[in-house]
Symmetry: C2
């Protein structure tokens, strides 16, 4: 790590290159940990925040154990359009399980899923979707379910890119995760998605271990079956880790208030609010999907990932809003290859 002798107060922050614009000499040896971010207001705000909380002896220094950062997943770390990845998983599970459920051929929303008639599925509304989630997510043990997810995520393809869903992550956010960890942050995922759907691959894809993944969850029950202990997944919700459920999930799993939160939709509003409403240095960031050409453009009217209140209140709350189109040089890692 580069340490300019004349500016000892500059800590090891994500963008030491941003510092170099203040300097006269080019410093090619300086690593920029956020190379996919344009030198715009969001990158500057990130770098300034990380600099403040890591500057030993500074007024905003935060000890390493308190450097907790929480990230939403869908729409913040990977694409959530055209549908949530977990919904695509559930639809594929319906097709896989259909032979065991002949009645599904004549029953919505299953009929629609099997026939690819998304209008018929949509017509069943949230109730239909919850029914699909229930039948595709329950009935297995936790270890069986992890195996199912692992197999699916390795083979399924995103409908528009025809790439694995784990390719549809955001390169700038991967850099941000790594940058924060390099600066002593512990990074957590706090998602409305299912915790057991994310844990099998989050460590490989995001570098976030299972014990730092928080999400919605089903109830599980400990059972000993023929001498073998299992955790059986039940068709009953234990936590909806969305909206006001996110601070609850954070409290249950982390037990201290984060100092930085990253989201993209109004489902993240309370998480951002909870994170940024305490004394000391705080950071809130919203990824605004503004890039119809390279990804998607949506906010207020979106059926997935609606963002209205967050946009309205971000300025007064001091939250950073990332203009994806203007501020991200690349969206997905494969664009760089």
């Amino acid at each position: 790590m580069f340490r300019p002798a004349a500016r000892a107060t500059i800590a090891a922050v994500c963008l030491v290159a941003a510092w170099s614009v203040l300097s006269t000499a080019a410093r090619p040896q300086v690593p920029d940990m956020l190379p996919s971010w344009h030198d715009g207001p969001s990158k500057r705000a990130i770098v300034a925040f990380v600099g403040r909380v890591t500057r030993a002896g500074g007024p905003d220094f935060v000890p390493v154990p308190e450097r907790i950062a929480v990230f939403d997943n869908d729409g913040t770390l990977w694409s959530e359009q055209p549908i949530y990845v977990q919904v695509a998983f559930a639809f594929d599970r319906v097709k896989t399980l259909a032979p065991q459920h002949p009645d599904w051929r004549d029953r919505q929303p299953f009929k629609g899923v099997i026939e690819g008639d998304m209008k018929a599925v949509a017509a069943t509304g949230e109730k239909g979707l919850l029914e699909i989630i229930a039948v595709t997510h329950a009935g297995s043990t936790t270890e069986e379910f992890a195996t199912i997810v692992t197999g699916w995520i390795a083979s399924a393809r995103h409908p528009s890119s025809n790439r694995p869903y784990t390719d549809m992550v955001y390169q700038p956010m991967l850099e941000l995760l790594a940058c924060l960890r390099a600066n002593g942050f512990k990074t957590f995922i706090v998602s409305g998605g299912g915790v057991e759907f994310m844990r099998p691959w989050a460590e490989r894809v995001y570098g976030v271990p299972p014990e730092q993944v928080v999400g919605s969850r089903a109830k599980v029950r400990y059972e000993v079956r023929n001498g073998v202990p299992v955790l059986a997944r039940l068709a009953e919700t234990d936590l909806v880790d969305d909206k006001a459920g996110k601070p609850v999930g954070i409290h249950q799993a982390i037990g201290r208030r984060p100092i930085a939160a990253f989201g993209n939709s109004d489902g993240d509003f309370e998480m951002l609010e909870w994170t940024t409403s305490a004394p000391g240095p705080r950071f809130g960031l919203i990824v605004h999907h503004t890039d119809a050409a390279r990804e998607s453009a949506y906010d207020r009217g979106a059926h997935v990932g609606q963002l209205a209140r967050g946009l309205d209140e971000a300025p007064a709350r001091g939250w950073v809003v990332v203009d994806m189109k203007q501020e991200w040089k690349v969206i997905h890692p494969f664009e760089r290859r």
Copy 2:
């Protein structure tokens, strides 16, 4: 860290001194991370296990991220006699809150607590105790509750030693926690006690940060009160992290199966069973309270911390049973001073 050149397979384990008994030369520079353990079967089993899982290239090597160790708290990391510390806390809260509840003066179990009549309290049974826990643990925000716990734990005294409860921890177990962490383990507390009762002091006392403390918990609700977000503690149980609830708590909070579990009572049975029932190297340990002179002697008939099934099944399951009287040189840290 000492690395004997001639025995490169010996990893940095807790008791390199145990290794030295195999050697002919005395090696005073070798650190023993478990100095309060006699060189008995339990210490040898711990050292052997840590050696196996940390030996790079060995058949039982476990990568660092998978080195998850879970510890019960009451009776495993600190004394649970004559009553659970959290019950002592609840009794003190009743006394503190009594002026606001004049009806308690004539109503059991509160009357008994206020007057120090433990027989009257005991006569109300589990129902009475739950009523005491409910009224003393609900009604505050999570941050208010943490402040109450922090104040109490700093001032309250254990009835027999007249020392702070946090002095009543077990020195050999503190050493074990540190030893495991020095060998790449992530150490978690998984306790039937309340998670919000432990988190305010577990980092200072055990070196276990809040996000690695799992326990029983009340439901909380996110609210914005006059513009200030809070998490309100409700009088409703969300998880009883005891017995079959321990694997559930482990799954919710950690999301992968531990490879080592440490307990002392039948409340830990399922946690030990879950931990040790998977392939690969596994370690289960039960602290057996056998020392009436220095601490307490109890097992099958105990009203707190009953241990029967664990004793019966430990040999067949390969669990280590620590004979506290024979194997621990000291019980509490203050004995060394």
